[in-house]
Symmetry: C2
Subunit: 219 residues, 2 copies
Amino acid sequence: MATRTRNTERLSRERIVEAAVELLDTTGEDGLTFRALSAHLRTGPGAIYWHVANKGELLDAATDAVLTRGMTGEAATGTPQEVIRAIALVLFDAIDEHPWVGAQLSDGPWRSVTLQICERIGQQIQRLGVPGAEQFMAASAVMLYILGAARQNAANARMNPPGADRAAILATQAAAWEGLDPEGFPFLRHVAGQMREHDDREQFVAGLDLILVGITGLA
Amino acid sequence: MATRTRNTERLSRERIVEAAVELLDTTGEDGLTFRALSAHLRTGPGAIYWHVANKGELLDAATDAVLTRGMTGEAATGTPQEVIRAIALVLFDAIDEHPWVGAQLSDGPWRSVTLQICERIGQQIQRLGVPGAEQFMAASAVMLYILGAARQNAANARMNPPGADRAAILATQAAAWEGLDPEGFPFLRHVAGQMREHDDREQFVAGLDLILVGITGLA
DNA sequence: ACCTGAACACCGTTCAAGT
DNA sequence: ACCTGAACACCGTTCAAGT
């Protein structure tokens, strides 16, 4: 019985995408390489191209897989505001857990999953009684905020070493702002202290609520 | 008199960054290469490394240059809402004109230019009479929306061929939505027609105004 | 101090050859 | 039909050598 160094399990688009997600999660965006991926799948780099057209498509598929996984829980119920908040948090958490999704999201905004998200949000906008002419605008604003803010948060998280002490980072940040020139930066100096008890996720929802207040005013 | 193929003008960080911006604008993100850049500057790839640490720093510097250029006009005056709108539009237009800036913005969010933007917005939040405990939250929400939405818009613009017919693109988009399953996508089908007279820039401001309504409610 | 350009280690992608 | 892995064209970055 020879040592098995060869691939026994068949290759498939699903296995490839799954491995890609794993690689992206563990080694970051730069870690996803056709060589690393094929090694992980015990095959050659060329084999992947039989199932996936190129790296862009692979990244799209990985993004889609993660977001779909997140969005397929049972739909939230409650007031329109509550449903929108729930959708927003699902996306926030998905992007927070898989930061590379954020960078990818900009490229294909109106496809598959994003389309469903847009639809769900739009339905809640309608439930709020927003007049027809302003429904599209309101839904767009919510989408832009959610995706933009979630991505920004992920980018922030990616900047500091993984598993770093959050409190320490915030304290450093706060100290930096407190050290700013009081003439040029009165506002930042004034709010610097609030950095210390800052919670990204809470802040994200609070911002969303501001938009929802504005939307409610349209009804 | 021999043909001058060599560099006569001295290299400098400014000239390099300027050339990088030019290359990014004309050939896109993939067009910025140390080889292409050094050819453009009539020198070797290694020469650039004397003035710039690496490609990341070069992209940061290019982003900074473009945003600073945009933000250094005379400060807008008027109501807090008007000033915030003016700042937002300056950023929107800068990112619209240099789409690569959008992709870059996520990486270094609290440095130099971004810090100034945050400060200016915060000052307007204070003028609106928002209580201290909520000033930071309100300013963050505005920042997140502006940067996120502007970036998303740039990504959209980057997707279709440069100089393409806007009306045709919107019509195609609208037609696609009108072709959706009316059972699964009632909202998108309902608003599909609005795509045809859709204006990104107007929509961007309208969304911002929703947040401003919410913020005004805090005062 | 500043520039040169060959060289290194890597990458995405292709493709003749195998099964 | 599907997989293999060497090869191609490219990239960021380094560095001994020049001025």
